[in-house]
Amino acid sequence: MITPHAISAELLEVSLGPQHPSTHGVFRMNATLDGETIVKLKPVMGYLHRNHEQIGEHATYIASFPFTDRLDYFCAMSNNLGLALAIEKLGGIPVSERGEYLRVIMAELTRLVNHTAVTGFLLNDMGAFGTPLLYAFREREKILDLFEEASGSRMMCNYIRPGGVRQDVPPGWLDRARELVRGYPAFLDEFERLLTENEIIRQRAQQVGVLPKELAVSASITGPMLRASGVNYDIRKVDGYSLYPRFKFKVPLGTVGDVYDRYYVRILEMRESVKILEQALKEINDASPSISPKGLALVKAPRTFRPPKGEAYGRIEAPKGELGFYLVSDGTPQPYRYHIRAPSFINLTVLEDLCLNHKVADVIIILGSVDIVMGEVDR
């Protein structure tokens, strides 16, 4: 009788990355293979490290905004929002109501951008030659057009400021946004028809990379990845920051916590985002300016902003998970300590646990389902 271990082969060490088509940037995994099975996998990162935190400690609070755009370059708007929240906490800056609405709209549009792109990338990693990715990017471009109209830039928006947003949206923008949001469910239907029910996808993604609930909580996993494992934790609900308590939306939860759940939870989250957007775009009014006077003063003269000594931790539910900004002020225009709690960095903690005993091909889709952006991982 031949036991599975009777035929033993030499282990093969493969360095997947940093130049590899599917590592989402300059990420590297040192994998040890037994045949095609992973027996050990160590993530290696830092190829894009630029010490953003130290740059932030030498710049004014406002001057860090354009750098946050480049953290998770898919979600510039929500990165801006995270930093703005932390600064508002630190300096006690009130936010105008219209500004809050615009922030929610931008943050949810960003969630659409991110989830559309990441589901496209995930299917691409499974081998669908570009088609889902290009469909996703087609729709993403339409949202980026809106971002460009509002902020002047498609990806590096640098738009949200403490107290509101830098400029009000141009006339007609809200109507165009409404039109886009109206059309989005139809795109999601098409996108799901393309591959959600596909037997090959199910074979590939179900029961692969299962993340148990307990491990997910203990390993500080956040975002869609946590919710795919069935933990009901959404900072929009828990903290109720900005105007989120005003809107009716639900938090989709997975049951198994495998790659398929992580894929599908993102699709369902997009549908919920569309609901939030519909409500926000209906309720928004121009009764207040888009930025509070104190915030406007900050935009015009960043160096006059000297928050009192103290510290603040502002966190939001970014598309990838909990994005936190930890600021310590010593009373000068520059933060004394500026730390970013990057969701995709911490979500990588469990990568090895997810990949063990799976095949090489699974590693790629597991990594894709974790949803990392190296700008944020390496900072």
Binding site: G152, S153, M156, P170, L194, E199, K300, A301
Partner: protein, 205 residues
Amino acid sequence: MIGVGVLKGMGVTLKTFLETYPWGRGLLRTLRMPPTNGLVTVQYPDVKQQHSERFRYFPFLVYDRTPDDLRCVACKICEQECPPQCIHIVGPAKDAQGRPLKAHGRTYPVAFDIDMSICMSCRICVDVCPFDAIEMDNQYELSASDRWDPMVYDKEKLLKPAEYFQQIKPTEAAEVDARLAAKAKKAAPAAPQPPAPPAAPPPAA
């Protein structure tokens, strides 16, 4: 049922495929299929994407009538606030005794360089400028064959007339003009400044 998912997906790609041809579109319309996107690529060098008015790429300096009548007074606020530190200003211009030289009633920078390869087009310089002297351009085809000299834009290359600003960003320019007019009205009682001193830099060729 096994295979249905695969067939559904193939239906989506086939529909997209047909949608890109006129005859295919006609066929789909006769079959009462809702329209989808068709071809969405912009054939870049031949066709250029329409950018919105706020589209921002790389700053320029505004002058009003002649290139030596630039609005910049060399206060260096933008240099200080620029997040990637890509602006370098020398000035304001001074004469031999160290008194500030003035052109059209304002001090002016001796040199104003922006390193294009460092600039990240964040628009913070525009936000902080108290004189509305620097604005964002929308020209993005700025590639050069050398990382050093061609990428450092000096004052001559940065200066553009106010009419140009009004042309590329009419809404924003109108706001700026209104603001400047209000300011000028307030400052009107002050004595008119002497004309440009001889040491003024030669206007751009």
